[in-house]
Amino acid sequence: MIKFFLMVNKQGQTRLSKYYEHVEIHKRTLLETEVIKSCLSRSSDQCSFIEYKDFKLIYRQYAALFIVVGVNDTENEMAIYEFIHNFVEVLNEYFSRVSELDIMFNLDKVHMILDEMVLNGCIVETNRARILTPLLIIDKLSES
């Protein structure tokens, strides 16, 4: 099960956080700091899986942005690793070449995309078209 989904930049600023199990707010900041620290301490020739406390971190770096997913031991690490890329591809398609600013300014949209893809801590949808259709309809609605 996915425990949390984070997007953090190299400076350690959280750009998106989603927890699938309730975590106290002050513990969240602490956890996020530690998580990004352990990701930053790794070089590119190290694998993308970190054993952290009682769960695993799976991360990928896109420019200055890290996407980190915390999972428990029943999850398939490789699937999550591929999923992160899938997520970024969806963002890329929606924002046409996504940047850190896009994510900051459209936090709600990114959340919607993520909610389409992950629910209850499980990957539920990976089909790009099916993920984006509801969003595009909503965008059209708000335009009109």
Binding site: T14, S48, N76, L107, D108, V124
Partner: protein
């Protein structure tokens, strides 16, 4: 500043939006916190405004701030306001904020129930979607209970998007409200075959998640999933399904055999690494659960190992990591297959990536053998020297110790080597694992008797260099090693070469800088050492040397007496007084050594960690009974000291007699054995009865340490494990040569039958260097079996361990929303009952009747062979019993004024809805008809077949002559005249239940169907074809479904006027009204809407939606029933049936 304030108020119309906030934070890098607190103040102002747009904007900003770590729980109410906005753009913001910050502890969450329900049933699919998504984040048990039915309805929504979301949210609902699982499951199962792939994968997802936690309840779905697995092309869905099969196979080994082939095909064909990895993992899991009798078992394992090797050799670090991870799973069951890849794994130890090195280390643990241990540890030691980070080095250290000590030092052939490894490890700087090394040293020294001499020698060297050890690593754990060293030197002091020197080392002033607990051990062991020095010197006739030692102690002990540590201080002053006394005696030339060493007689044996727990309570001993009269409050303190010294008394009672003659020894030994046998506190010693005396000098019982002479007993200075590796190799070589020689000789004798024995030596051939007697941990005699595998009672998934195949009972239906009308006339008794109670009242009643029915069913099945199933059910039954018992008083309170001391309600007679169907010499049939919840024109007939003959009944088939109105559902492709096979056989005396589905067109009249049960009865004499005719009676009541109805809706229904009326009256009824109602509820599937005194209104609904209302009044000895129903014929028939029931009362 002031200007900005003015500007801010002017700009209120154009409040900062999220973008402005983000930019603002970026522009205030220096005073971010201040800027944000300012923003929060602004947001608070905005939230006070009436405009929902302003509020939504504020909440949107709060969501961003929450992400940055600011608590926004104070705005929970505002969030709910925004959630209830009518405009979707705002609503969305509200739900997003709620899903980010609401949780079970948020108290305002209960205010959202109605809003969410409204959104769920909104005509706009976006409202519904956003509400569903939000729910998945913050659903609480209350919300789950109240909304379960709404969400379940959405599972059949016309829009696939909503169906998908609803299916997914149901998972969360199940978790929070487990009772909803059974009613919702049939629909969920349907969704596995939904035409929309999104919905289908959602259903797969939910069921897989459920099934992984409680696989046994989902075994029946295996064929369906198997079909999905072979047909699906979606890798993500495949991963889920394969994971599920991994959970199912341990319960159903046949499944495993079936799985291997498609899985290996996938392994060969797929290009997706995640899928490959999942397949390999599942194949491993399957093979682990299968018995090893599989023919192509090893082929599959080989395939996995080969694939994993490719992964490990890949340049991609991720694949390498996963390969090693999966390899470690294979290792547990098939170590041989992994061991052949030792080269690769050792290579991974040199990897740049620490995670990979750690995984490789894990693998090494299982790969060592007697032969390879030294080589692997040597390699690891080299890594220890090279390691940069302390974490990795500590990990290495623990791994080395783990590897060596695993399964009782199974792989160690030379303990001198191991001790020297441990000593080498003490030279590590900055390790946190000093205590681990210390524990190993103690363990080895205590359990491997042959090594003590060597260990003591090494430890004394360590003690000698103690200042060095202590000074360089004062702050961290390595000084813990001195704890072990001091204890070993003290306890086994007879092996010391230069005891005086060690004594001197242990009394150095620098020792006082060590941690208190280590000093305490020092002080205690100084005395032991002193005792053995005295003994040696006295025997050697050198009183001067003995006095010198005394003098040394007298000089040095005071420094410990001044210690700040209480333990050290106490022991030191005690010992100091003792030594002073000895000094006096020595002055008078009285030999004291013997008495002094008697203080430390006896040997400490290792005790198994669970030993204490397993000491059986002797017969007749009641641990809870008072031994004396319960004490008054004050004198409890006096007892404590006694208990504390109990142990020591035990030990002192066995003084070490240095020079006793053989006979005396034997006699005492016998006496002690006797004593031990009857002593409950004594934990039985290991098989060798000699070892307790081994330290008594001059006695032949000392086990002869057979150490190979080529190994020097003392290595000057600190030992080097390297040397031992070489020595060990030489030794093994020699051993081999000798063996070969012997073999040759044998072979020659045998006439050289076999040539070319394999040159490699197998593990078993290597004999350990020392005749090592590893003292096993002791366990008490007749130890109790352990009581492990307690499941975690807090596991949220435990509640979902529910039998899904059991037919759905009425009581399990999801609560349907009912309107509560304040004006509705309430019966006076109910006044003080809380409102919530009212809602739950009806289900309670039903639950009770259900209980009755299921109890009856249970009786019918008592003899059933399916013990497992029954067991489960009984458990559930019990749980339900408890529940309804608990609830019953409440109900009575609600329906009747209970008077103190009033006679108890007469108990309900047991009721069964099963009516006799037919009976002959072989079989008895009873049946029950239930309307189907899902289909409006189907009924299920449950037939209990009870074999009361001595034959085995098999090939049972039920054939029924269909009428125009009522038809039996037959398997596809069979004709009207074919029978439906009964899916089981009946051994003698056994009964079982079979279910058949019938479709009905008109339900207003009772129906009768003729049918035949044909079967083969087989006994010793042979088999005969038999048949039994019967008539199935479908009463009108059997088409009714118990449906709760609130008085409000009931009143409206009666007022609507489109119902036809009829009534009956039955005389001569003696049964209580309560029981009467229960009977009607039970046999005719009604529920009580309201009851006032001896008058009650009842409601039920047919499977085709007819409403049936009854008003039951009880007179002196008569009961009148007025009925209203949307169909007159049906009402007439129903009332006739009710009349029949009442006539029996």
């Amino acid at each position: 500043m002031a200007l900005r304030m003015v500007k801010g108020s002017i700009d209120r119309m154009f409040d900062k939006n999220l973008q402005d906030l983000v930019r603002g934070i970026r522009n205030h890098k220096e005073d971010e916190a201040k800027y944000i607190s300012q923003c929060i103040d602004e947001i608070k102002q905005e939230l006070k405004q009436d405009s929902i747009a302003v509020k939504a904007n504020a909440v949107c900003k709060l969501t961003y701030l929450q992400m940055l770590g600011y608590d926004i729980s104070w705005a929970a109410f505002n969030i709910i306001e925004v959630m209830s906005a009518s405009k979707f753009t705002f609503k969305r913001i509200g739900y997003l904020a709620a899903s980010q910050c609401f949780h079970e502890g948020t108290d305002v969450i209960m205010l959202t129930t109605n809003q969410i329900r409204k959104d769920l049933s909104s005509p706009s699919q976006h409202d519904t979607g956003v509400a569903l998504t939000g729910l998945s984040c913050f659903v609480t048990p209350d919300l789950a209970r109240d909304l379960a039915n709404d969400i379940m309805t959405l599972m059949s929504h016309t829009k696939p998007y909503i169906r998908k979301k609803a299916v997914l949210i149901m998972y969360k609902v199940f978790l929070k409200h487990p009772e909803s699982l059974r009613p919702a499951f049939p629909r969920l199962k349907e969704k596995l075959e939904d035409p929309d792939p999104g919905v289908q994968s959602a259903a797969v997802n939910v069921i897989c998640e459920l099934a992984r936690r409680n696989p046994k309840n989902y075994l029946s779905l295996a064929p369906l999933f198997f079909k999905l697995m072979t047909s699906s092309t979606n890798n993500w869905v495949l991963i889920k399904i394969i994971k599920l099969f991994g959970a199912l196979t341990p319960l159903e080994p046949r499944l495993g055999k079936k799985l291997i082939e498609p899985l290996t095909n996938l392994i060969h064909s797929t290009s997706a690494m995640s899928l490959l990895y999942e397949c390999v993992n599942t194949v491993i899991a399957v093979l682990i659960s299968l018995s090893s009798g599989m023919p192509n078992h090893s082929a599959s394992i080989q395939l996995c190992v080969q694939k994993l090797r490719i992964l490990i050799e890949d340049s991609d670090q991720n694949l390498k990591y996963l390969g090693l991870l999966a390899m470690s799973k294979i290792l547990k069951t098939h170590p041989k297959s992994v061991q052949s890849h030792k080269d690769l794994i050792l290579q991974c130890l040199d990897d740049k990536d620490e995670s990979i090195r750690l995984r490789a280390l894990d693998l090494l643990y299982g790969m060592v053998s007697k032969k390879s241990l030294m080589e692997i540890v040597k390699k690891l030691m080299a890594h220890v020297d090279k390691a940069e980070g302390t974490t990795y080095r500590d990990e290495l250290l623990t791994k080395i110790i783990d590897i060596c000590s695993q399964s009782n030092y199974q792989h160690i052939t030379n303990f001198e080597w191991y001790i020297s490894i441990l000593v080498e490890l003490t030279r590590l700087e900055g390790t946190r694992h000093g205590h681990l090394i210390a524990a190993q040293m103690l363990d080895v020294a205590i359990r491997v008797k042959a090594i003590r001499k060597f260990a003591v020698a090494q430890m004394s060297v360590l003690l000698d260099s103690a200042p060095l050890v202590a000074s360089s690593t004062q702050r961290n754990g390595i000084c813990e090693v001195l704890y072990a060293a001091a204890w070993i030197c003290g306890e086994f002091s007879e092996h010391l070469q230069e005891p005086q020197r060690t004594l001197e080392a242990m009394l150095r002033p620098k020792v006082t800088t060590l941690p208190g607990h280590i000093q305490a051990v020092y002080v205690q062991n100084v005395l032991k050492l002193y005792a053995s020095i005295l003994q040696q010197e006295e025997q050697a006739g050198q009183p001067e040397a003995a006095q010198q030692a005394t003098q040394l102690l007298l000089e040095r002990l005071p420094q410990f007496v001044q210690s700040a540590d209480l333990e050290v201080q106490e022991r030191a002053s005690c010992i100091l007084q003792l030594v002073k006394h000895v000094q006096k005696l020595q002055a008078k030339a009285v030999p004291v050594a013997e008495e002094l060493s008697a203080l430390f007689a006896g040997e400490l044996n290792p005790v198994a960690p669970k030993a204490q727990k397993k000491v059986p309570v002797p017969e007749g001993l009641d641990l809870d009974a008072w031994i004396n009269e319960p004490p008054s409050d004050s004198d409890s303190e006096d007892e404590r000291p006694k208990a504390m010294f109990h142990e020591e008394e035990q030990r002192h009672a066995k003084p070490r007699q240095a020079e006793v003659d053989e006979e005396e020894l034997a006699r005492r030994r016998e006496a002690r054995r006797q004593e031990q046998a009857s002593n409950p506190f004594y934990i039985k010693s290991s098989p060798s009865p000699h070892k307790r005396y081994q330290d008594a000098p001059g006695v032949e019982h000392i086990p002869v340490v057979q150490i190979d002479l080529s190994v020097p007993l003392k290595v000057p200075g600190l030992p080097l494990s390297e040397q031992y590796v070489k020595l060990e190799e030489e030794r093994r070589h020699r051993q081999k040569l000798e063996k070969d020689k012997r073999k040759k000789r044998k072979k020659e004798k045998r006439g050289r039958r076999r040539h070319g024995s394999l040159p490699t030596e197998s593990d078993e051939d290597i004999a350990p260097a020392q005749q090592v007697d590893i003292v096993t941990e002791e366990m008490p005699e007749n130890a109790l079996p352990s009581d492990e595998d307690d499941k975690d009672p807090n596991d949220p998934y435990r509640a979902l361990d529910i039998d899904l195949d059991k037919p759905l009972a009425d009581s399990e239906k999801l609560p349907v929303l009912k309107h509560r009308n304040a004006q509705a006339p309430k019966p006076p008794e109910k006044e003080d009952v809380p409102v919530v109670e009212k809602k739950s009242k009806k289900p309670k009643k039903k639950e009770k009747t259900h209980k009755e029915r299921s109890r009856k069913r249970e009786e019918g099945r008592k003899k059933s062979t399916q013990k497992k199933k029954k067991h489960k059910k009984e458990k559930e039954e019990r749980g339900k019993d408890k529940k309804s018992k608990k609830r019953r008083p409440e109900r009575e309170e609600a329906t009747e004024p209970v008077q103190n001391g009033a006679p108890q309600e007469e108990p309900l007679p047991p009721m069964s809805s099963y009516c006799p169907l037919a009976e002959n010499a072989y079989v008895k049939m009873t049946y029950d008809v239930q309307g189907s919840l899902q289909e409006d024109s189907q009924v299920t007939v449950s037939v209990i077949l009870e074999n009361h003959s001595r034959s085995l009944l098999k090939n049972m088939e039920l054939s029924v002559l269909d009428s125009l109105n009522t038809k039996m559902a037959r398997p596809e492709g069979s004709s009207v005249h074919d029978g439906v096979p009964v899916p089981f056989q009946l051994p003698p005396g056994v009964s079982n239940e079979a279910q058949f589905v019938f479709s009905v067109q008109s339900i207003v009249m009772a129906q009768k169907l003729k049918g035949t049960l044909s079967f083969i009865a087989k006994d010793e004499d042979g088999a005969t074809q038999e048949k039994l005719d019967f008539k199935l009676h479908f009463s009108c009541s059997s088409y009714l479904l118990t449906t709760p109805c609130c008085s409000d809706a009931f009143a409206k229904l009666l007022e609507s006027g489109d119902l036809s009326v009829s009534s009956i009256k039955v005389d001569g009824i003696s049964m209580s009204f309560q029981n009467l109602l229960a009977r009607i509820c039970f046999h005719h599937h009604f529920s009580v809407v309201e009851r006032v005194d001896s008058c009650a209104s009842m409601y039920s609904r047919s499977i085709q939606g007819h409403h049936v209302c009854l008003l039951v009044k009880k007179g002196e000895s008569s009961v009148s029933v007025d009925g209203k129903c949307s169909d007159a014929t049906m009402l007439g028939n129903l009332l006739e049936e009710v009349k029949g029931t009442l006539a029996q009362c």
